[in-house]
Amino acid sequence: MKPAPSVILFTTLSGLGFGFLALLGLGLIATQGWPAFFHWAFGYALAVGGLLSSTFHLGHPERAWRAFSQWRSSWLSREGVAAVATLLILAPQALSDWLGLGWGQGFGILGAGGCAATVLCTAMIYAQLKTVPRWHHWTVPATYLAFALTGGLILAGTGLWATGAALGLGLLLAYGWRVGDSAFARAGVDLASATGLSGLGLPQVFEQPHTGGNYLMREMIFTVGRRHAAKLRTLTLILAAGLPALAAAILPVLPALILGGLSHLAGAMAQRWLFFAEAEHVVGLYYGRTSGKS
């Protein structure tokens, strides 16, 4: 799949934002007054910024409001609904924290649940797709949630909590890649079943339907070199998990927060780039462009 910058920004920023907001909502970052304002504003900025950047991916962003209508069937719609609902639910909590209204933690706890739900919906946009076997796996929502949690904990300056989460994320990533690498083969799809020609022998591409390019090939058939991918995975592990874990464990709060946060975000983006670039769509079979059996 094509790693579109808007979607990478969307998923990483909003994931981080909702992770941070969830911690705020749960009251794990105890602030009052203006510090609270800046904390909440930061969380909102990440989440809303992410959501906004997702609209750059749309052909018709002016119609984006329509996306709230199909929550019964569509994870993308659910994600929109959940995101907006969560941001609304958390607003009283933010006001209360900022202005010291003392409205308790009710909205915050509810909102934290909303944050988790939103991140889950985001992940499910991908994980629901049987057409992308690498994505169609529980590790995808788990990874998205883990990123949100880890990111939130790092930004919250939670020290060893952040270290633990980051190490957990690292393990999850490694596991996800391992199962992901064989996902296409396990999906049991090949050119023979894609064409119904299995009885005849081994089909291979003779000629592409068009010598000119097309949307499908640009959007869904993206190849990334194996060695390039391996390097990026290592980088991802270091940036998203290793460095932040170390920083949170040994550095004072502020430097740990800044260094660890930036490193984690860069790592998240690298992971997300790989998430798309390494994902092979079943349609690639028709074009002879999958690593699975052709």
């Binding site: 049987k130 799809v189 769509h281 028709y286």
Partner: protein, 247 residues
């Protein structure tokens, strides 16, 4: 809307005969031509005379070479690919706006372009590559089964079929109602063992592909028996025997 209808009265779709398709691309441009001026936005082309031309097509014909497992004679199979109008169409359920829908009356999967935000998720959800985002209109385009032909009262009755079917020179494309067991498409599917594509993905495609008939079979019947031993009889003997047959 993006919930699929529990039941459709008809199940309209195509049967594509891989035994007969010569890969001429006629259906590709007939489709392009009709839909360029038909339902919804035109099918645009980018850089049409340039270095990297590309455009929206709702039907593309692949060509595969198949080598039999026993090492026999290789074959070329031409393979038209377009929307299969799945009963359990994942492209419909993923749509966040309800633009993508399956018609309850005939099962045609359509895009309401006015409601399409161009997110592309439906194209991701489709295993068959049936959907292409038009780069000019920025809405998702797909095979409509020529919904603006098949019921069109401005067309003669005989022309109320998809443009690709009407144009197919070898008659390799058939259109009809799979819900009707007596329709041509149902019969062809039964008689020729029509197959769905990627059934393991659970999309329940309506369209069926008729597999190529066995080809290049080793000659089974006994060869022709010689008239006589020409070596022994010489040409004269052959001629006598031969012309004796005239009577």
């Amino acid at each position: 809307m993006t919930c699929l209808p529990a039941h459709t009265d008809k199940r309209l779709g195509l049967v594509i005969d891989l035994d007969t398709c010569v890969g001429c691309q006629a259906c590709v441009t007939a489709c392009k031509g009709w839909n360029d001026q038909g339902y919804g936005a035109a099918l645009s082309d980018q850089d049409p005379y340039g270095a990297d031309p590309s455009g929206t097509f709702l039907n593309r014909v692949h060509s595969y070479q198949v080598t039999p497992h026993d090492g026999g004679t290789a074959k070329i199979i031409n393979f038209p690919r377009s929307c299969l109008h799945c009963e359990d169409a994942p492209c419909v359920t993923v749509c966040p706006t309800g633009a993508s829908y399956k018609r309850s009356e005939d099962g045609i999967v359509l895009v309401n372009e006015d409601a399409c935000i161009g997110c592309g998720l439906c194209a991701w959800a489709c295993p068959y590559g049936a959907r292409e985002m038009d780069q000019e209109a920025q809405v998702m385009k797909k095979c409509t089964l020529c919904v603006d032909r098949i019921y069109n009262e401005n067309l003669p009755e005989e022309d109320r079929e998809p443009a690709c079917v009407r144009t197919c020179p070898t008659g390799a494309r058939h259109f009809g109602d799979f819900a009707d067991p007596d329709s041509t498409v149902s019969k062809l599917t039964r008689d020729r063992g029509g197959v769905p594509l990627l059934p393991q993905l659970g999309t329940k495609p309506v369209n069926r592909y008729l597999p190529p008939r066995p080809k290049d079979r080793p000659e089974e019947a006994s060869l022709l028996a010689p008239l006589l031993d020409i070596k022994a009889t010489g040409f004269a003997g052959w001629l006598d025997r031969m012309l004796g047959k005239l009577d």
